[in-house]
């Protein structure tokens, strides 16, 4: 068992310091208060600033607690921000895979479709942004469930609705599948939501690893899967690659 991590302890001390008194502190002041070298303190502050736990006043250069701390646990990524950051990579995934692409986030026990790219065959299709999908019966939903134990607990209490004869309705079966999703790093679904349709999805992560959404493709089951409802490896690779690219774009300041 490793010991406590010093930089995390120091970061916690910094947040406590900023939370009391005037709430505005200069770098020298913070370093002196905690007995740290200015360089060390600055490095920690920069990291806290990056995760938005700390803000720096533009004119005075002084630090204060970040607005993100006030709504910790509610929403950490704006849905429209996610669409904006991922639009290039969602397009690229549609172009590479030949399938329609959706990006989903969790909302009220379902998957909210925050972005949708048409299948690149120029047939008439309808934009599905703003629509809701079931968590337990879609690849996007399975990804969101796999990385959110709290969400899974609420689902377990609710009845898992059967949408097709393949929909997973037994909680124990769903949990087994979600463990596989975590092990593989991606999820799939074959005719569990709609007969003849299948999907593949992978997690979108914030810096630090928190899963904030999922990106995936869907289409005819015989085009998504090869045999025995196993998804084609090339498509899985495209989806995972896109998920990583979107996660990377969330890590860069725009």
């Amino acid at each position: 068992m490793p010991g406590p991590i010093q930089s995390i302890e120091r970061a916690a001390a910094m947040l406590r310091l900023l939370a009391r008194g005037s709430g505005h502190h200069g770098l020298a002041e913070i370093a002196a208060a905690l007995g740290l070298a200015k360089g060390t303190a600055h490095g920690i502050l920069r990291t806290l600033q990056r995760v938005e736990f700390v803000e720096q006043d533009q004119s005075t250069g002084r630090y204060r607690l970040g607005a993100a701390l006030l709504h910790l646990g509610t929403s950490y990524l704006d849905a429209n921000e996610l669409r904006s950051r991922s639009i290039n990579w969602a397009d690229t995934l549609a172009a590479r895979s030949g399938h329609e692409v959706r990006i989903g986030m969790h909302l009220d026990g379902a998957v909210l479709v925050v972005h949708h790219v048409f299948r690149p065959d120029d047939t008439m299709q309808t934009l599905g942004i703003g629509g809701m999908l079931p968590l337990h019966a879609t690849a996007l939903g399975k990804v969101l469930l796999a990385y959110d134990a709290g969400l899974l607990a609420t689902i377990r209490r609710a009845e898992l609705t059967s949408l097709t004869r393949r929909t997973i309705v037994r909680p124990s079966a769903l949990e087994r599948v979600l463990a596989e999703v975590r092990a593989a790093g991606w999820a799939s679904e074959a005719e569990e939501y709609m007969p003849g349709e299948a999907g593949i999805a992978a997690p979108i992560r914030m810096p630090g690893g928190l899963v904030v959404g999922a990106i995936g493709i869907s289409g005819a089951v015989d085009r998504i899967c090869q045999t025995a409802n196993r998804p084609r490896q090339a498509l899985v690779d495209h989806v995972c690659h896109a998920a990583e690219a979107v996660s990377r774009s969330l890590a860069t300041d725009n």
Binding site: D78, S84, I87, D91, A95, F118, P120, Q125, L127, G130
Partner: protein, 509 residues
């Protein structure tokens, strides 16, 4: 043999991007860096050309690294750029004379008003296709020549060079002080007010009207042209195309046929229609410009409606009012209300461009009551972009006597789902987004790839175009008409605000 790629540099108003594309026009990597915007006085907008060059120096290698490829796998580089923005620099040291003056800058407002009453002013628009306005390069260049001591002498001696950002980057990439090429393309030249729109050469009458020394101007070349190889940053890459960003977007949207139209939503928004070999002179406040010119072929003309402030209104809402943290959050905030609550924002920050061309107009927020929340303001921000598009589309329809059935859109703001729906609603046409929203970069890549034979022809490029999203109109026609009437009233209130009054009467067009 290793796979081959095309690279594009998009030198935009807020950032510079380097994008690598594969032969199916799919994005392989993107590297981007923002640059600073300086506003030393009200109405002045400047950028540091050296900072922009340094950014290119970083993003080119980064884009190659991210793509996991070497320079030898890049068959061509296309350069596209914010238009009208220019810099003057010393050809012996490479050092700029002051900062670049940006297209949004309105320091020449009085100079332009004064020039408009001079003899020869009536002919300016006939010769260059553009109305006399602060937006284009020539008035600002003239201002700079008057403002900096000795600059005119240095220009006449050939010691300083003028360039839009394409010219600045090509000169630097091909060696700078060590034999850098001083060239521009016909689309960028068409935005200076110094090029004759019919001959595509620097026009002696215009040079004399604006009093600009010919020696400081670059050579005008076609859009697709092998300029030479890079010798700096990432040496050995063939520079095979240069074109203004809006022209690149037209190309990237594969609007190759007469009548095909696109609108790019960025800092400002720009609606361009390909008019083929026909030079159309607008009677409704639109610009005549060059769409593109393929090497060895006659130019393709375009009709343009330019809107100065769209995305920059969202940035203002974020940075100056602090009501949102990031630009995309405007949609989240706008969705907290169901309509604008009677509130309208007309963002005439630097006057109004097409179709009004009122440089003295200034922005306003109208219809405020105690009921209005920041959500209503956010909605009014998005609606301002939509109604400004409607005005330009109406002008285009009036010039052509017909109505387009769809609008092809691209640019960063197309990620705003609510905005795209509002645009479909107020235009009453389908709005279509192609699979590559980065149409500006793609257009530069297409032009460069075409020049070196990476793509065989225009038809081949067309096959790469796929529909990514379509928004269809859902607004009640009566409601639309009422809202449009309100918008028009709001626009009229902005006229004549800045004093002294220098109204460019749209009747002069």
């Amino acid at each position: 043999m290793a796979q081959r790629f095309v690279m594009a540099i998009d030198q935009g108003t807020t950032s510079t991007r380097c994008i690598v594309f594969d032969s199916n026009a799919r994005l392989v990597s993107v590297a981007q860096r923002e640059h600073r915007r300086y506003s030393p006085r009200p109405g002045w907008v400047e950028q540091d050309a050296v900072e922009i060059w340094r950014n290119v120096d970083r993003i080119m290698p980064q884009a190659l690294r991210d793509a996991g490829i070497g320079a030898d796998q890049v068959v061509a580089l296309g350069i596209t750029n914010q238009r009208e923005t220019f810099v003057v620099w010393d050809r012996h040291t490479g050092a700029p004379v002051g900062r670049a003056i940006v297209w949004e800058d309105i320091r020449t407002e009085e100079l332009v008003a004064e020039m408009a009453s001079r003899p020869g002013a009536d002919e300016v628009r006939d010769r260059c296709g553009l109305p006399l306005a602060t937006y284009f390069s020539a008035p600002s260049l003239r201002w700079l020549l008057d403002d900096v001591p000795d600059l005119r002498d240095r220009a006449e001696r050939g010691d300083v060079l003028f360039g839009t950002m394409d010219t600045w980057l090509i000169w630097n990439l091909t060696g700078g002080v060590n034999g850098g090429l001083h060239v521009t393309d016909v689309t960028n030249a068409s935005r200076t007010m110094l090029m004759n729109i019919m001959t595509q050469q620097w026009d002696p009458e215009l040079l004399s009207f604006f009093d600009i020394p010919r020696r400081m101007l670059p050579e005008i070349r076609p859009t697709t042209e092998i300029h030479g190889r890079t010798t700096r940053v990432v040496p050995g890459i063939e520079i095979a195309a240069a074109l203004g960003d809006q022209h690149a977007a037209l190309f990237g949207q594969t609007c190759f046929a007469e009548g095909e139209t696109k609108c790019t939503y960025g800092t400002g928004s720009f609606l361009l229609m390909n008019t083929g070999t026909k030079l159309i002179r607008s009677e409704h406040g639109l610009l005549t410009t060059i769409g593109y010119q393929l090497g060895g072929e006659p130019v393709t003309y375009a009709l343009e409606g330019s809107i100065a402030v769209t995305g920059s209104l969202v940035q203002w809402f974020r940075d100056n009012l602090g009501l949102i943290h990031s630009a995309p959050e405007i949609e989240t905030l706008a969705r907290t209300v169901k309509d604008n609550g009677g509130c309208y924002i007309v963002p005439a920050f630097s006057g109004l461009f097409a179709p009004h061309w009122h440089s003295e107009a200034r922005g306003l927020i109208v219809g405020l009551t105690s009921y209005i929340t920041k959500g209503h303001l956010a909605r009014a921000v998005l609606e301002a972009t939509a109604w400004q598009t409607r005005e330009v589309v109406d002008a285009m329809n009036a010039d052509l006597g017909e109505r387009a059935g769809v609008l092809r859109v691209d640019g960063g703001m197309t990620a705003d789902h609510l905005l795209m729906q509002i645009i479909a609603d107020v235009l009453d046409v389908s709005v279509m987004r192609p699979m590559v929203a980065e149409t500006v970069s793609l257009g530069a890549a297409y032009a460069a790839g075409l020049a070196v034979g990476y793509w065989p022809d225009l038809a081949g490029l067309r096959r790469n175009w796929h529909l990514a999203a379509r928004w269809t109109p859902q607004m009640d026609p009566r409601h639309r008409d009422e809202e449009y009437a309100n918008w028009k009233r709001a626009v009229e209130l902005t006229f004549g605000w800045a004093t002294p009054r220098h109204t460019v009467d749209s009747g002069q067009f």
